[in-house]
Symmetry: C2
Subunit: 250 residues, 2 copies
């Protein structure tokens, strides 16, 4: 087993009442899932939680013990409902204090008189945090050990992730192949299960879709060994032919 | 305190590797969040988990003890990766067994010879489950006590939710008002925090947005008492005027 065989895991915590109330459709999870996969990090769980202190602290502490990386989005602005940063300090049991680099950074944008209490909140981090700048907004995110704390606005969050992407140490990325067909799941389930049982290193998923008004299925194969993935994909395509349909390989 | 003052809570569990791998953008959470709010049920947490037995069982048992309602989506089809239904039976400590009504329902669509092992899986539920039909697909979801088990395909899931919506016993629905403005959050944060401190029954959120290429803010007020909500909204609009901008009330 080489270093790159190790599976490196992550969790995402989406913080904010606006998602749970249905007001906002989250798109941060999907962006992070794809980006993490590109650097060989496997996203194992995501939690969407409200702006409640005890919930944020408890969730962060549970996840950072369980996974290699944790990414939070939301709640680091200057208003009263932005409590993530303070909660991270409490989760780590450290002071929440003005970060000298963030203060300096803000002084390059604002006159000292414009740096009111609210804006200084955004220059305040858990003691020992490393700042994460982004090209869209002035306010930085930060990292505490294995926990990355990002903004909730998608463009800002994406900028922060792109800033740190190169420092993440992942394993071998997972590749995927898709075989589409017009067969019903109930027809192919048995043969597909037999193929799955021969490939314990390949994860085969079956996803019904609507195609030209009729139900079809996308069979998605995911794995980290390209040769095995190619072989399993060929077996699935042959199965579709054996059942009288034409496989559509993407 | 009348019956309708009680806050009725729910959690959503989105089950499926395809969301965590980034292949699929989830839209079920947002649909459920809105639908639950309409019937006065407050969505408190959502978890996105992979198709792993121990994780599904553990998450379902934690959530059903903690919240009034739990809704799961995904993993109830006929293929090897559809393990939700069996896991729910294990979570409740009951047998996983052919449901006579589901069997009868399938016999109205399929010849007995077409009812192979895979299709019979979809007629199999935890013992004691109540079926949840839907107008899109033949396979029903089901309810076990306070846990509703739905399909992952959005149109099918939506059909199942619409089927049960009328039976959910919620409290008073939460109403929301939005006041938009072009002020920076750092400018309005202090006054907004002061308004929030006067209304402990109204939740005031501040959400930066891009409006005509510039950052603006949507101030969202949510509450269950209409008169209080109207008063708080007027206070927020007046605050925007006092800070030299024109409030945009939606």
């Amino acid at each position: 087993m080489t270093d790159t065989d190790k599976i490196v895991t992550a969790a995402v915590i989406v913080i904010g009442n606006e998602i749970l109330s249905g007001r906002t459709q989250d798109i941060n999870l999907n962006f992070l899932a794809k980006g993490l996969n590109e650097v060989g990090v496997t996203l194992r769980e995501a939690r969407f939680i409200p702006d409640i202190e005890a919930t944020i602290i408890g969730t962060v502490n549970e996840m950072r013990a369980k996974f290699d990386y944790v990414f939070t989005t939301g709640g680091i602005g200057p208003t009263h409902d932005d409590i993530t940063s303070e909660c991270i300090a409490k989760a780590f049991g450290v002071k929440w204090t003005v970060h000298p680099d963030a203060h300096k950074h803000f002084l390059s944008f604002y006159q000292p008189s414009e740096l009111n209490e609210a804006r200084m909140r955004m220059a305040t981090t858990p003691e020992g945090a490393t700042l994460v700048y982004n090209p869209v907004s002035r306010a930085p995110g930060f990292r505490m050990e294995n926990v990355y704390v990002f903004a909730g606005i998608p463009r800002v969050m994406q900028g922060m992730f792109d800033t740190v992407k190169g420092e993440l140490r992942g394993g071998k990325p997972t590749m995927s192949r898709t075989v589409g067909c017009a067969l019903a799941e109930g027809i192919l389930a048995k043969s597909l299960g037999e193929i799955q049982s021969r490939y314990d290193d390949i994860e085969i998923g079956s996803y019904p879709i609507m195609r030209r008004g009729a139900f079809g299925v996308n069979l998605v194969l995911r794995g980290r060994d390209e040769a095995r993935l190619t072989q399993a994909t060929a077996d699935v395509a042959q199965m579709v032919r054996d059942l009288g349909d034409t496989p559509i390989e993407e």
